[in-house]
């Protein structure tokens, strides 16, 4: 029999939730036994503090100089900066993974009002909220110093602006939670994000080429921005500075109206959650399919040259690649970068330099860059296997076969990407001379094969689990990254002088001959590394299973 005599008040509940979040943060920090993780966290903490403090000064001087220098209208830009940061950063951080689930609070005896208040209070506790609050404070101090008569309006407008921002951010967050509850939606969202990030690379060349032409269009759009909250906040401050109280009232009323509108939507959203919302990922049963009679007996196996185990691993890896939106969409990047760099630095009309870089240097350089990007995942090749790693250890196979399957897919994927990139390169600026082409191809074999052996060792020694379609908390092991860079620098350092040997000796085919020899040695080294690596996998199986099954 529950003997609850009273329900805790809203403030008491908020205090309890704040205490809970604080405890979770402390426990998470305590779990960071790995010194690389700790160093990473300290680095991020210092960087974030410097970032916030640096911009505090910028917002302070901005507000001060705009008001004291007679450019009051420009203060809206500062509000826009805070607004965009406040709304976009949480989407790109919290949006990709499940964080602390505020919905869990629903199991407790909360009223809808308390649930709403706690939900709103949540909006005050993330990095973007703290940073933007600091910047608003800096602006208030700047305004107070420049023109003390504007201070009351600035405080009131900042408070309304803050409330509006929190409400909007929570509203977007709760809708995202609803939409991203399903794995497929999360992956599509993540893929869209990667595409946006890739597209941003084209911003600079596009601005260089079409920037001037776009200016009139931008000027036409600007007036429409005046109805949005940051412009309304700016309007209120300008009104206060110039004694136009109608503008102060209109600005403040506009932000209040936005805050009220978002509050109503947020209330409705929270009310739906409060009543109990189904966000289950488990799919409903599909209509039973009539199973066709197996015809595999007549089908030939495309991978029949491989052992069944290697073929099975290869197939599994291919399926994983096609179902991992992040990895899959990263594959579109290399040809895109070839296109981007080639138009900027090579060809007849480079946009970034006056004179085009010679194809003889540019081609090997581009191939080295592509290998740098494409080989990185191989250094933590079990990352997405998760608990499935146990299947490799319970099956009657040696890890030699597991590595062969994984490496074969890596090589196939590299071959496809490099061929595509070479085709794009050839179309745009043409291929280099035959000796350089052959030397580069042999250098690719040397670099990739050499790296695979070390990458396999790194995958066993520094495993780190990664989740599909999730960005939050997804970090490679610091040591794996270090090994990856170290190896690439070492092999790149060996390869670069060899490529230049033709210039020093006058023998155009010498680099190709050296690389063919090195490629042969790398293949022999790789082959002989497989058995020792299989033995190492046996030794490391506990740490491997432990790291990937968390």
């Amino acid at each position: 029999m529950a003997d609850v005599t009273r329900l805790p008040g809203v403030w008491e509940q908020i205090r309890l939730v704040a205490g809970l979040r604080w405890r979770i943060l402390g426990n998470n920090l305590r779990k960071k036994h790995n010194q690389w993780d700790l160093i990473g966290m300290i680095f991020i903490g210092v960087f974030a503090t410097l970032f916030v403090l640096g911009l505090c000064f910028a917002f302070y001087f901005g507000a001060y100089s705009f008001l004291s220098g007679g450019h009051e209208a420009w203060i809206a830009f500062l509000f826009w900066g805070i607004f965009l940061f406040r709304q976009l950063v949480p989407i790109f951080t919290a949006g990709f993974g499940a964080g602390f689930e505020f919905r869990n609070m629903l199991r407790f005896p909360l009223s809808l009002g308390a649930f709403y208040a706690i939900g709103l209070a949540y909006g005050l506790a993330d990095f973007a909220a703290i940073a933007s609050s600091c910047w608003l404070m800096a602006m208030i101090i700047g305004v107070a110093r420049a023109n003390p008569t504007v201070l009351p309006t600035m405080i009131a407008v900042s408070a309304l602006f803050l409330l509006m921002n929190i409400t909007l951010e929570r509203m977007i967050g709760s809708w995202l939670e609803r939409i991203l509850a399903r794995r497929r939606a999360r992956e599509i969202f993540f893929a869209a994000f990667v595409l946006c990030a890739v597209s941003l690379q084209f911003l600079n060349p596009l601005l260089q080429r079409y920037g001037r032409a776009a200016q009139p269009w931008v000027r036409q759009v600007l007036p429409y921005l005046s109805v949005f909250p940051p412009s309304l906040a700016g309007r209120a401050i300008v009104g206060a500075a110039q004694g136009h109280f109608t503008d102060v009232l209109l600005g403040a009323a506009g932000i209040s109206a936005y805050a009220l509108l978002f509050s109503v939507f947020l209330w409705l959203r929270f009310a739906t959650q409060y009543r109990g919302e189904e966000l289950s990922e488990t799919a409903a049963p599909e209509r039973a399919v009539v199973r066709p009679i197996s015809r595999t007996a007549e089908q030939s196996d495309a991978l029949q040259l491989l052992t069944p185990q290697v073929a099975a691993v290869l197939r599994k890896e291919f399926r994983y690649l096609t179902r991992n939106s992040f990895a899959f969409f990263l594959l579109i990047m290399p040809p895109v970068f070839v296109l981007l760099f080639t138009t900027q630095f090579a060809g007849r009309h480079p946009t970034a330099t006056k004179h085009a870089v010679s194809t003889e240097f540019f081609f090997p350089g581009m191939m080295a860059y592509l290998i740098l990007i494409l080989m990185a995942p191989a250094y933590n090749s079990f990352a997405y296997d998760g608990k499935g790693i146990q299947t490799f250890f319970t099956s009657p196979v040696s890890f030699r076969e597991v590595f062969l399957g994984k490496n074969l897919l890596q090589v196939a994927m590299l071959t496809f990407e490099l061929t595509l990139s070479m085709a794009a390169f050839s179309y745009l600026v043409g291929l280099p001379s035959l000796p350089v082409l052959v030397a580069t191809l042999a250098a690719i074999v040397f670099n990739v094969t050499g790296q695979l052996a070390i990458a396999n060792w790194s995958s066993l020694s520094f495993p780190r689990k990664l989740n599909f379609g999730q960005m939050r908390g997804q970090r490679q092991s610091g040591m794996a990254v270090l090994v990856s860079f170290g190896t690439q620098i070492l092999l790149g350092g060996i390869s670069a002088p060899i490529l230049f040997m033709s210039r020093w000796t006058g023998n155009a085919w010498l680099p190709a001959e050296v690389f063919v020899f090195l490629a042969g040695a790398a293949i022999a080294g790789y082959t002989s590394s497989l058995d020792p690596l299989a033995a190492l996998a046996e030794k490391k199986k506990e740490t491997l299973i432990d790291a990937l099954s968390r």
Binding site: P285, K316, E538
Partner: protein, 262 residues
């Protein structure tokens, strides 16, 4: 069948200062349905992991079907099936793809793998979701799939860590029947479960581990004989278990302490 399927000698596993499994001597005859019991943290899963190649023992040895595991790991693994703790599934494959992967890893040819996968998916009532990824399966469905994967190659010993946890009553009934038929054909089943009624109903022999040490081993009849039950009534496995692991009154948490709940 009296040949031993599983024999362990002084099997020990230490994690730093903690000895999770301490000198376990276990003998399981071929064709037995063997229940391995113990309280939480007693060392059941650690023992299973050592018997299936997921964990190396600190000392001692394990022999399966007459083969030393440390010397012949691949040959032993070929003849055993496992549902490990956490199930060990590749969650980004569909059920059929996973079974085909496992079948091929055990060296089955493609037509056989395909046929058995389909039959197992039908039997486990998983064939109505051909395109659903394992990540989207419910816990019970994942458990059934893990069981299907453990038997696809026709193992001679089957290790099951909490096999019925989360499985609905209908499927559990079918599974029990399947496991029973497998033991009739000579397959040895080594099972851990916290549901003592299931173990009592299925298993002919039981071992109990507590704090890493094997504290009892034998047939249910042998274990019953060692426990004084109420006159005229059959001693249940729960009574045997509580009596052996020392929770029979003296160490059992006293309900009086929670009087405010009653």
């Amino acid at each position: 069948m009296t040949d031993a399927a599983i024999v362990t000698e002084k099997l020990t596993r230490r994690f730093g200062n903690l000895t999770a499994v301490d000198g376990v001597d276990l003998t399981v005859a071929a064709g037995q349905f063997f229940g391995f019991l113990g309280p939480n943290g007693a060392g059941k899963s650690t023992t299973i992991k050592m018997l299936t190649g997921l964990l190396a023992p600190s000392s001692g040895r394990a022999q399966l079907l007459g083969l030393d595991f440390a010397r012949h790991p691949v040959e032993v693994k070929r003849q055993i099936g496992v549902v490990p703790e956490g199930m060990g599934l590749f969650e980004r494959l569909t059920g059929a793809e996973y079974l085909q992967f496992v079948g091929r890893m055990y060296g089955l040819d493609r037509p056989t793998t395909q046929r058995r996968s389909e039959e197992l998916l039908d039997f486990m009532q998983l064939s109505d979701r051909p395109k659903t990824l394992i990540a989207d399966y419910s816990h019970g469905m994942q458990k059934k799939l893990a069981l299907a994967a453990a038997v696809i190659h026709g193992p001679r010993i089957l290790f099951l860590d909490e096999p019925f946890e989360g499985v609905d009553a209908l499927a559990a009934g079918a599974l029990k029947a399947l496991l029973g038929r497998m033991t009739e054909r000579g397959v040895t089943i080594f099972l851990t479960s916290h549901v003592l009624e299931i173990v009592e109903r299925l298993c002919s022999h039981v071992a109990i581990i507590d704090k890493g040490r094997l504290v009892a081993q034998g047939s249910l009849a042998e274990l019953r004989a060692g426990i004084a039950g109420e006159e005229g009534s059959k001693t249940t496995l729960e009574q045997i278990f509580l009596s052996i692991v020392g929770q029979d009154g003296a160490q059992r948490p006293q309900l009086e302490e929670l009087s405010w709940l009653m």
